[in-house]
């Protein structure tokens, strides 16, 4: 089964995965309303049911779902952001996605042409028999001399001696903020008992916001903090977790 055939039953959509993709690309279905986690869960159920792992299909699925996640995350980003020039604008992202779709379309067409052509040509079979014995072995003394240039070998070896260029990482931004820094920052705020997450990341850049979120998750894992949020996009109130608070009281 191809990943495209995966049957989905989501809140906003019921049908095969490839139809979902088509509808999203045609904007007939709002990607923001599609719960991609449900798509992944459906796929995991499917894998479980099959009991075997087809790597080709799984890879195809991962690529499709990753493309959707990328697109969805771009759609959710505020457009006015200018200081965040690492990423493409949604428009550029769509252009890039389109270019990829067109290129893939082109080569899928060429691929089916080749597959058909091979099938058509199959009737022309070639003989694969060894040469008769009297023709089989060429004698060295009958061989022409100097057909190949020795420089060919030197050049090939020179190519093999070349060290590949180190991978260029200059486009990756330096990490200016670390999780432990942000953990320390959050712990400082926690001493007040509770605080608003927005407060913790006031005037921070996007990377710092993300790292602060990681730091918060880390504190939750360690049982130092927990949080509440009344509704989506409402303020997130972070407070020291009960156990941490009691420990602090004992101390």
């Amino acid at each position: 089964m191809r990943a495209a055939d995966l049957e989905l039953d989501l809140d906003v959509f019921t049908g095969p995965f490839d139809l979902l993709l088509t509808l999203v690309l045609r904007e007939e279905l709002d990607l923001l309303e599609v719960d991609l986690a449900d798509v992944v869960l459906t796929y995991l159920d499917h894998l479980e049911g099959r009991g075997e792992l087809d790597l080709e299909v799984t890879t195809e699925f991962l690529v499709l779902i990753a493309a959707l996640l990328e697109l969805k995350s771009r759609l959710m980003l505020p457009r006015e952001e200018v200081d965040f020039d690492l990423e493409l604008e949604p428009g550029e992202a769509a252009e890039e996605l389109l270019a990829r779709l067109l290129e893939a379309h082109r080569f899928r067409g060429a691929a089916s042409f080749l597959a058909d052509r091979l099938a058509d040509e199959e009737g022309h079979r070639f003989r694969s028999a060894p040469l008769p014995p009297w023709l089989r072995r060429a004698r060295t003394d009958e061989a022409p001399t100097g057909v190949y240039a020795p420089a060919l070998l030197g050049a090939a070896l020179g190519g093999l001696l070349r060290m590949p260029a180190p991978i260029d990482l200059h486009h990756v931004t330096d990490v200016k903020v670390t999780v432990s820094e942000r953990v320390a920052h959050l712990r400082a705020l926690l001493r007040r008992g509770s605080f608003d997450f927005d407060e913790a990341v006031a005037r921070a850049d996007r990377t710092t916001v993300a790292v602060t979120l990681f730091a918060l998750l880390e504190l939750y894992k360690r049982g130092e903090a927990t949080w509440t949020q009344d509704e989506p996009f409402a303020a997130i109130t972070v407070r020291a977790s009960a156990s941490a608070a009691s420990e602090a009281a004992r101390a």
Binding site: L31, E56, R79, P90, L102, R108, A115, E122, H124, R127
Partner: protein, 197 residues
């Protein structure tokens, strides 16, 4: 059938690979144009007399093969199943190599959106593609082989149809682009655009 023609028929029978015209001419010790017209009349006589063999120009040389009409019987006799057809992954990888050669594996993976490793390995094993040196980053480049031309009945890679033949029509492309862009912009407009966070 004249002397040159029958000798050429014997040579093509013996040769496993397509033989270039000049090598045949040298072997039959006849001028190029005599050899070329003898090959042409050999090709015609096999066809005209409805024989079981076909002589064609493929992969830059002349080659003899069985007639497709004998395929059913050949399959019964040789008990060899058809050469396995190409899987979609192999066909796509082969198409990318055929049209963009020389092309590196990362480039193939980028176009396909999935790794091309196992498909490329199978195509190499089947002799349809081969290494063609290295990119400036040291990645192995691939190109199609002579066997590829032979199995696909092509004289040279240039005989492949223009890849643009499979492009979606400009209308479809424009509509797709338009929708993608509008989707992006509409969503961006709707998303919470506060910068206070």
């Amino acid at each position: 059938m004249n002397e040159v023609e029958r000798t050429l028929e014997a040579l093509l029978f013996l040769s496993a690979d397509p033989v270039p015209l000049d090598a045949l001419a040298e072997a039959v010790q006849a001028p190029l144009h005599v050899t070329a017209s003898a090959l042409e009349s050999l090709r015609e006589s096999l066809d005209f007399e409805r024989r079981g063999l076909v002589v064609r120009e493929v992969a830059g040389g002349w080659a003899m093969s069985s007639h497709p009409d004998a395929e059913e019987a050949a399959r019964r006799l040789l008990r060899k199943p058809r050469t396995p057809p190409l899987t979609p992954a192999q066909a796509e990888t082969l198409a990318i190599v055929a049209y963009l050669q020389p092309v590196s594996r990362p480039e193939i993976a980028r176009i396909r959106g999935v790794s091309a490793e196992s498909a490329a390995a199978t195509l190499i094993e089947r002799g349809l593609i081969e290494e063609a040196g290295r990119s400036r980053f040291g990645a192995v480049l691939y190109r199609t082989t002579e066997l590829f031309l032979r199995l696909f009945g092509l004289n040279e890679v240039g005989d492949l149809p223009d890849v643009a033949e499979w492009d979606p029509s400009p209308e479809v492309e424009a509509a797709l682009r338009d929708r993608l862009l509008r989707a992006g912009e509409a969503r961006a407009g709707l998303a919470p655009a506060t910068d206070s966070a």
